[in-house]
Amino acid sequence: MSNNELTRRGLLRTGAVAGAGVALPTIFTASSAAAYTNEPTGGTVTLGFNVPQTGPYADEGNDELLAQQLAVEHLNGEGDGGCLNTFTSKALKGNGILGKKVTFVTGDTQTKSDAARASAKSMIEKDGAIMINGGSSSGVAVAVQGLCQDAGVIFMAGLTHSNDTTGKDRKKNGFRHFFNAYMSAAALAPVLSKEMGADRRAYHLTADYTWGWTQQESIAAATEAMGWETVNNVLTPLASTDFSSYIAPVLNSGADVLVLNHYGGNMVNSLTNAIQFGLLDKVANGKDFKIVVPLYSELMAAGAGENIKGVLGSMNYNWQLDNEGSKAFVKSFGEKYGKPPSNSAQTCYAQVLLYADACERAGTFNPCGVAEALEGFEFDGLGNGKTLYRAEDHQCFKDVLVVRGAQNPTNAYDTLEIVEVTPVEQVMYAPDHPMFGGAEASLGECNSGA
């Protein structure tokens, strides 16, 4: 009987707690007095850096983290100030953000949308992060962006290249500095036409998931518009490690260009396999066979080694860019870490500064105010040249780089050379472009978590 009583008491307790829950107002984490989620009340403000630290993209995540730490240093007035000296907006004074010292917490996305949301949530719920930045895949970016929208914090995307991030999945609280598949295609197509001719026949190998599809769609549309023919598009499983069975039939297909819509380890392996099969030494349809990798990154180039020689692709940023902002950033990053920054590092660095600057200009950390300050913001001096944060879809518009694997690199860092800097006008598109969710896509309402 005594046992019985104990449990009844336990039940009562459950009931009481549940009842208390019902009576409470619906809030996310902050105590109800706060005007918005995680309003900083002390002398510090906490940013959340959510990057892959385990799994295949760990090195890329590490690069992003280095850049984010550098940005925090510069915001707090330590180091040489980096791009604060070249940034056209002069709101940042090197005394933190709005006078509050910047601190940060880190999390591991594992490049899985579930894990990324878990670590973002923990930074928001436990550590009081007011902004989440970073990531190295589109799936993660879209998932975390949705979470930040619900939670009422700002999401500054890291490396995410899928059209969807600022297309059908765009969110009022989410911002993307990185370029996207459409821009890659728009920038690459004229260069491809110029270098390879307008009557090429392309064979696509495409990673079988959302990003791969949007990129393939974009490239096919852009190249077909200038006269190319798409011979075939073969979807390859993400888990593939060996692409020989996909590469082998390419030569017999009547194609003379191979487009690898792959990223990371997939791209390293598929390109290595393609070189093994000697595709670049072959002649098809009376033309030299060519390979295109629409999205390049420095780490992929390093992983693919000599195989990238002469292979064309596009990038968001390259440290060899010759402008004031880029030089300041490369100097700052290079002196601290002994290597030039990668393009994902640059994006994360710029995103942190842009966020901080928007807070200063808005005079608040309130996500709605910050979002408003970022919308339609035009700036320069962060490395990419003149850039616009478009209000309609929160996508940055700036020049896109077309790059090529260098024939004779002198060191480990100039394996890619810039072929052309495609002006921003050429990669511009309407916010309701069909590849970006069409007219239905909307940012929704700003959420401050209040």
Binding site: N3, N4, L6, T7, G10, R13, T14, V17, A18, A20, G21, V22, L24, T26, I27, F28, T29, A30, S31, Q53, T54, A58, G61, N62, F104, V105, T106, G107, D108, K112, S113, D114, A115, R117, A118, S119, K121, S122, M123, E125, K126, D127, S138, G139, A143, G146, L147, D150, D164, D169, D208, Y209, T210, W211, L235, P237, L238, A239, E440, G444
Partner: protein
């Protein structure tokens, strides 16, 4: 009471107290102190503890009792999540229909896979379940998310969009999963001195469900049905010779544990309305196997402990970075501080896998019965020490 003997009742009561007071127990350090890094009492992680606890309890009903090692249970969790999110998309954000459907769908799915897989035993069974789960994962990640027939939304994960029907959704209801209007995210923050405790509605829903599930598991363990399952494990042949067909029993256990997994999946979606395909990958199936073995397969509380252990490392250790290390060791002289950071650095942050791997090995080497055995040895040691016995102490040593 409730049909349990005294020992089980006290176990249930302990579990109840621990889960209900978790916001206090998991936040032992004052917010803002250097040790606050180790606090785990925030809503998301607490929810994960109990949800994966449910998953592991269910898995243990199959593996702990019958010995059938399924390497595909994540598939049931995955379909549970997907069906829950579909309910959100079609009906409304109310969690009750979502969770109900996730259990039903997982039951059907596990009935199908179980019926086929249980035609084989031992490692052949394990590989069959693995194959089914990997197929589900591969299809969910790519083929089933093509624009013409988008069932899973692939890489990004299935989520609710503004243009979804949500036929029962009204404006007065929160735009979040809710229980008849009570949002799963509503949290009451209690500040006591330097401490801060979160009481989250979603967590308490999960906690109550976990207690019910734990109670059901005890009943299954102690029932004639449970005896039958144990007989399957100890000697299936003898069972055959006595004229009993073990198949219906193992199939029932398989479906029950599949329903537990589906329930866990449904709850995950209810706490956070997004269902990612990675939930079905073999690594996720492997994780629940590890949780169960780590905690102690075949014990009641073990799987819950194992789940908590792994989730704690995933969420807490991965977040410790060098900055925090420097803070911890800042009281030391500079040279020693850097040295300490250098020593600890490989095991935290991006090295959390390493720590977890080492702990797996240590636990299984020194505690063959898992964490539960560790607890038992500790208990024995404390009791013996009270009596002044010292021999047990030497036995305890290796566990550290």
């Amino acid at each position: 009471m409730l049909g349990l003997d005294k020992k089980d009742t006290s176990l249930l009561i302990i579990v109840a107290i621990l889960t209900l007071l978790a916001p206090f127990i998991l936040n032992p350090f004052p917010t803002g102190s250097a040790m606050a890094q180790f606090n785990a009492g925030y809503p998301d992680l607490m929810q994960r503890f109990v949800i994966f606890g449910i998953f592991a309890i269910g898995f243990n009903i199959l593996f702990g009792l019958t010995g059938y090692l399924s390497f595909g249970h994540a598939a049931f969790l995955g379909v549970g999540s997907y069906s829950a999110v579909w309910m959100f998309k079609l009906l409304s954000y109310n969690v009750i229909p979502a969770i109900a459907l996730s259990v039903v769908v997982a039951a059907l799915f596990s009935l199908l896979i179980g019926y086929v897989s249980l035609r084989r035993s031992g490692i052949y069974f394990s590989i069959l379940t693995l194959a089914f789960a990997q197929m589900s994962f591969a299809l969910a990640y790519s083929v089933l998310s093509n624009p013409k027939f988008n069932l899973t939304n692939g890489e990004t994960g299935l989520q609710v969009y503004a243009d979804d029907p949500q036929i029962f959704h009204r404006d007065s209801l929160p735009d979040m999963p809710h229980l008849f209007g009570l949002s799963m995210r509503s949290t009451y923050k209690l500040d006591i001195g330097a401490w801060s405790f979160d009481f989250n509605a979603g967590y308490y829903l999960c906690a109550v469900i976990m207690m019910v599930m734990f109670y059901l598991a005890i009943r299954i363990f102690r029932s004639p049905f449970g005896m039958m399952l144990r007989a399957v494990k100890s000697n299936q042949q003898r069972m055959n010779y006595t004229g009993l067909n073990p198949r219906p029993y193992t199939l029932a256990a398989f479906v029950i544990s599949g329903m537990y997994a589906g329930l866990a999946g449904g709850l995950m979606a209810a706490m956070d309305p997004l269902a990612g395909a990675e939930r079905m990958q073999w690594t996720a199936s492997g994780e629940v196997v590890l949780m169960t073995i780590l905690g102690g397969a075949g014990t009641l509380i073990g799987p819950v402990l194992g789940a908590g252990f792994i989730k704690y490392f995933e969420n807490i250790f991965s977040k410790i970075n060098d900055n925090i290390l420097h803070q911890w060791f800042s009281f030391l002289p500079d040279g020693i501080e850097d040295f300490m950071v250098f020593i600890v650095h490989p095991f935290i942050g991006k090295g959390w896998h390493l720590t977890l791997g080492i702990l797996f090995m240590l636990v299984v080497i020194f505690l063959p019965g898992g964490l539960v055995e560790g607890g038992q040895r500790l208990g024995k040691w404390i009791r013996n020490r009270g009596k002044g016995a010292t021999d047990a102490k030497t036995k305890q040593e290796p566990a550290e």
